[in-house]
Symmetry: C2
Subunit: 467 residues, 2 copies
């Protein structure tokens, strides 16, 4: 096939990048990818989508009125971007609401504490006052005698460490996910945790307690890091520290939101598509810029730029903007359940949900037969400063990972997460935290990965199902 690419190359700014393709030979693919990268590195499309979502919708907690507006925003924008088809799939989940939250030290040193309730927390049903008992880790709480803990407010003071991979999160998030249940088992009245976050701002980090932990839970909230530090200094006086906690929060029936799905067709194969995922919901404290507005903007922009090529890749693209990831991966699980039977319509999947800082690494989980694709990725992502981590298989992320568990081949484009957990799940998750240049580098990586995979005819699978 030969195509006259010139008019659309002009539109994409590819001509000035020195691009003169003629056919889809391997050499041509390198040229297309190079031109796509150059265009992405100059593009403000992802930024404009992100600015639109964060200003026109803003915080969009699952099941809220703003969540419904986010769904409309996604459908409208997919239409405006020219997706070949757009639809929604319902996702139902328990609605959790936050009305009011506050905490104060009553004695020996009266002052306020900056707190936010953990998602899934029950209400305190009016102010609750009790003495604080501090442990550093959940293991210490588990080892404590119930008689020492009963009737008190447990404070878990463990600090998250900062790493590029975000490994500190896995080490400390257990305080948030399991702490409320362990505290209940010990007879505590409530739980305060040091925020699972690496900043030093007076902005506590919310996040869900585990939905899978059996048993009762106590009212639970996170302290900002400075407040946790302050409380530790007070406890050092070895006098009883009494705290008042007032959380008017809790579950309130069911809500239904929607996975928003949009497709671009490929140039030849209309059966199989590359899946790009991100989640549309956010926590309620910030405007959801890094979690996960950036992901939403990136997968939309990458799909659009690739579909606007003079010659689209062989296979099409399916973008899924998942509902309610934050409170239990409801959208990802619903999608996996609904599409388990037609999983063969997807070639390979990838998800963006770790902010918007530079992609520095990629991982794959593909069949050996996909080696030519990996080779192309190594070469073309390498130009963007992205290294291949061959020793560790890709996970697919929270939502797309639900399909990986069913055997979908996946690729991870790993963002530098050093700064991510400064902002994650706080009021500080706002547009100004996104570096436009880093966002463009992300976009360049996504169009590279999308074009190479969608234009390939190798077998990406089968890969083994994995938990």
């Amino acid at each position: 096939m030969r195509h006259s690419l010139y008019p659309l190359m002009l539109v994409l700014g590819l001509v000035s990048a020195g691009f003169h393709a003629s056919a889809q030979s391997p050499a041509n693919q390198d040229e297309v990818v190079g031109a796509l990268q150059n265009a992405a590195l100059k593009s403000d499309m992802a930024w404009r989508l992100l600015a639109s979502l964060t200003s026109e919708v803003g915080p969009r907690m699952a099941g809220s009125e703003a969540d419904a507006r986010a769904v409309r925003w996604a459908v409208d924008n997919m239409h405006s971007l020219g997706f070949d088809r757009v639809w929604t799939e319902p996702v139902t989940f328990p609605r959790w609401i936050r009305n009011r939250e506050s905490a104060q030290v009553l004695s020996p040193f009266a002052q306020g504490l900056a707190v936010t309730a953990l998602g899934g927390s029950p209400s305190t049903d009016g102010p609750l006052e009790a003495e604080v008992i501090q442990f550093e880790t959940l293991a210490e709480l588990e080892a404590a005698a119930s008689r020492d803990v009963a009737g008190k407010i447990v404070f878990l003071s463990q600090r998250m460490r900062k790493t590029r991979e975000g490994k500190g999160y896995g080490e400390t998030v257990v305080n948030r996910s399991r702490g409320p249940f362990v505290a209940a088992q010990k007879g505590a009245l409530a739980l305060l945790i040091r925020s699972v976050g690496t900043d030093s701002d007076r902005l506590p980090h919310t996040g869900m307690m585990s939905g899978s932990e059996p048993g009762d839970r106590v009212p639970s909230a996170a302290l900002s890091n400075p407040d946790a530090d302050n409380l530790l200094i007070m406890l050092d006086h070895h006098e009883p520290v009494r705290v008042r906690l007032d959380l008017d929060v809790g579950f309130d029936g069911e809500a239904t939101s929607y996975n928003v799905v949009g497709e671009f067709d490929g140039s030849e194969d209309l059966q199989q598509r590359v899946l790009l995922g991100a989640h549309l919901d956010s926590w309620d404290l910030g405007t959801g810029a890094i979690d996960d507005g950036a992901g939403v903007a990136l997968v939309l922009a990458a799909a659009k730029m690739t579909a606007d090529l003079p010659v689209r890749p062989v296979h099409g693209t399916r973008v899924v903007l998942y509902a309610n990831e934050e409170q239990g991966v409801y959208g990802g699980k619903a999608y996996a359940k609904l599409h388990e039977k037609d999983l063969d319509r997807l070639l390979v999947g990838a998800e963006s949900d770790l902010g918007a800082d530079r992609i520095y690494r990629f991982k794959t989980r593909l069949s050996p037969g996909a080696k030519p694709v990996v080779d192309s990725l190594v070469s073309d992502l390498g130009r963007l400063g992205i290294a291949y981590e061959a020793g560790e298989p890709a996970g697919g992320g929270a939502d797309v990972g639900q399909l990986r568990k069913l055997g979908l081949p996946v690729i991870d484009l790993n963002q530098d997460a050093s700064r991510y957990f400064d902002l994650h799940h706080t009021a500080n998750d706002t547009l100004d935290k996104v570096n436009p240049e880093n966002l463009r580098q992300n976009l360049a990586a996504w169009v590279t990965m999308l074009y190479i995979t969608a234009n390939s005819t190798v077998d990406f699978g089968p890969v083994e199902k994995s938990e």
Copy 2:
């Protein structure tokens, strides 16, 4: 005179610093200063005082219950530190209170805004809803026609720039100090300003509107920088932006707090003292660590270290911890009024009220006869990396500056203010923001300046009165 310094040198850690003094010759003074500096650079005294004030008292807005606790804290700590005499002097002022504050964009894009009322703001008397009209600067508002502004909420969007000297503050604080009055003159219903601050955190900066501006004022609040950015993006759509503002704040009678004064005597002259000042009150949002807990801790620790020398300097020290600086320099003005007649009891004054980052520069306002003292300061502060700014006279700070206006000679030890206005007047003004090493460098500079001035017999004045 000869003294056996050895036992106390041991206590101060001076022996290990290689200090063996014998008499108060000029050479001996250099040795004492060098040893004091070495001891200060290893001392945690200022840190411990600051940790105590921020944890045991915390936020201490003038006229609040916590302000009264701060006064007791100051008196108790001066006694514990062994001040030769400690007393309080009443300061009366209008009490301003903050009960509740919130703002939301209603249309076209509903979402919350992080706001804090400006000190001195009246209440909105329930939620107030109106369209926003934006100007960048106060000058633009002043030039606007009342018919365009009347009935609206004015938004001043000017951004403060970051400098080491803090010059950006003077350029933008006029929005806060005069904006509420100019907005009222134009018939506006309320004022929103971009925070006078250089950070990008979702924590708005409070601060006082001018108490000296004549006429009415409108209810006024500051938006955090990210919220100001977000509002600007919304306004770019050129549709009316309606905001709801709910400020339950306002003046409520009078309150009395206290300047807390403590003195150490000198070794020879019991008549004249060096004055060290800082302010004890803070805004209510943070724990007042950098504004001005650090100043309080530094002047207390500097006075204590100098008084604990085996041979005290010739003159004594008077420390004044001023009441209610934040809402109109009430403590500084009351002190100046009360002590105008006995100003000759003070040799020279200095104030610490710009955080706790490194001192990089000093300025003086002294008579020509004090040149030997300036020479010593140039030499001894130089060892701490502190340069003399000879071209600009010292101002004395907000509180001590009230005495400079009456002719008191003053010295400024200038802190690097690059980071100060990230935190100033926000909930983020907490202990964790203070770098212990920088605090020790401050302490070293303060003991240097205190010892050299208090041990001198030159005439510091007269200097001209200045506004």
